[in-house]
């Protein structure tokens, strides 16, 4: 579980965000198929050694986004269908993440073509149904 969800405490992103993004990636990459049951908040929190409220928050956001679905008395599952979003909602969500990606790439000094190429290859890797791509999001390590 730890490998799957890979929480990095030195990552400046909040833990709930990391969980949320990891789940998204897993679902997008096909590692988590639709209607697969998810570990309970309690289980996941214990497994990751994180605050259950953090897991609950991530789950709540994922449920709101339509990626996870809650069945009463049964627990949490991966949604059977991808979230139904309007074109405007889709555009808005993509825009926010795209801005983040763009600023990140710019920081590295990449050109927009290099950024786009990387994006396309990642997408193709998802489509191929392989495992969750390696999170290369970690910033360069410091000499300490």
């Amino acid at each position: 579980m730890k490998a799957a969800f890979a929480i990095d405490p030195s990552d400046p992103r909040p833990i709930w965000r990391q969980i949320e993004e990891n789940v998204r990636n897993l679902v997008a990459g096909g590692a988590l198929r639709p209607s697969t049951s998810m570990p309970s908040v309690r289980e996941l929190a214990r497994g990751l050694a994180v605050n259950p409220a953090t897991v609950a928050k991530a789950y709540q956001r994922l449920t709101d986004a339509g990626i996870l679905a809650v069945r009463r008395g049964d627990g949490t599952y991966v949604a059977s269908a991808p979230p139904a979003l309007s074109a405007a909602q889709l555009h808005e969500r993509l825009r926010a993440e795209a801005l983040r990606y763009a600023s990140f790439a710019a920081t590295l000094g990449a050109t927009v073509q290099q950024a786009a190429t990387a994006l396309e290859s990642a997408w193709r890797a998802f489509d191929a149904g392989g495992g969750a791509p390696d999170q290369a999001a970690a910033p360069p390590g410091d000499p300490v």
């Binding site: 405490p9 929190a45 605050n51 259950p52 928050k57 449920t63």
Partner: protein, 345 residues
């Protein structure tokens, strides 16, 4: 939890989450705001002779929060905890548990508080089972089954005298005793000190299970920052008796960064002056370059700096909670200016 961030979405009313009601504080924020916080320190001061061990420390825990109280040895953690538990009289200020004075109402308040001390204080000749038998009649709810279950899970023999158990086992028994009373507030003083990795892991798993089941409010005084930074909602740093900061962990992680400039860069001193608005702390200079820790990091300003001639090639990394702690309380560390620190609760 009451963390807010830029892209937070409010939880829709009626959403079912598998968390107990106590943790859903966002929904019932209005109602709970009227109830007194489980723990509040109001300008607590403790003196031993001429030495001030705790200097006007104020902090408040809201229901369901996990609070990590960090501090080096001798920073005043234990004295503060003793005041909060009503075992020591503060020279000034008040310690309030559930809105009531901890010193005056200690006996009644302890019915809702679980305590895991730094040094195991249970009578060494009693077995774990005998300790449970002693505690049972003192509380309204005592979950004997849960106690036995925890002992089994920890692998602690229930009929061995407490003094003959290993340190890890003693800590587990102490936690099991505290949790069996189903407390609303848990106060732990460095509970994993001296525990090996396995025992430590088992300890935190149990604690997290309790949090998931009951949404207990937790005050955790510790050095074990690695484990804590994943569990704590808020952190406070105690140094020389004063509370240097009292802030959400997420916020801390967002605003602390380490920035490095290669030695080749021109006039590092002037370059780093540019960081003044980001509240840079001490600077370390070496052959490999110049490094500083900033406390009010901002993406845009950093990018601007990177773009400038002085800051070309500047690199930024984030810090773990441990690194933040060391930066704030290491040898020669000055008091942190609290401008801009501490997000809304």
């Amino acid at each position: 939890m009451s963390v807010t961030s830029a892209s937070a979405s409010t939880v829709a009313a009626g959403t079912v989450l598998d968390l107990p009601a106590a943790a859903r504080s966002d929904t019932a924020a209005g109602a709970l705001a009227a109830a007194p916080p489980p723990l509040a320190a109001e300008a607590i001061t403790v003196r031993y002779g001429r030495r001030t061990a705790v200097d006007a420390v104020s902090l408040t825990l809201s229901e369901g929060t996990v609070y990590a109280l960090l501090g080096r040895n001798g920073a005043g953690k234990s004295s503060l905890l003793r005041c909060l538990l009503g075992q020591q009289r503060a020279a000034a200020g008040r310690a309030l548990l559930f809105g009531r004075d901890a010193w005056r109402h200690r006996a009644a308040l302890m019915a809702r508080v679980g305590v895991v001390p730094e040094q195991s204080d249970a009578p060494p000749r009693a077995t774990a089972r005998q300790l449970a038998r002693f505690c049972r009649p003192l509380y309204h709810h005592w979950d004997g089954g849960a106690f036995e279950g925890r002992l089994r899970r920890f692998g602690v023999p229930a009929d061995l005298p407490f003094g003959r158990l290993s340190k890890g086992q003693q800590g587990h028994v102490a936690l099991a005793l505290a949790l069996a009373a189903r407390p609303r507030l848990l106060i732990l003083d460095d509970p994993t000190l001296g525990l090996d990795a396995v025992a430590r892991r088992a300890f935190f798993e149990e604690l997290i299970g309790e949090l998931a089941d009951r949404g207990t409010t937790v005050l955790l005084a510790t050095h074990d920052l690695a484990a804590v930074e994943r569990i704590a909602d808020r952190a406070g740093i105690l140094a020389d008796g004063r509370l240097l900061l009292d802030e959400e962990v997420e916020g801390l992680k967002l605003r602390f960064r380490r920035i490095w400039l290669a030695a080749a860069a021109a006039a590092p001193a002037t370059a780093l002056d540019a960081f003044a608005p980001l509240a840079a702390r001490e600077t370390v200079t070496g052959d490999w370059g110049v490094e500083t820790v900033v406390t009010a990091y901002d993406d845009e300003r950093f990018r601007a700096f990177q773009g400038s001639a002085a800051g070309a090639g500047a690199q930024v990394t984030s810090l773990t909670l441990e690194e933040i702690f060391i930066a704030l309380t290491g040898a020669g560390a000055d008091q942190l200016e609290s401008a801009g620190a501490g997000g809304p609760r």
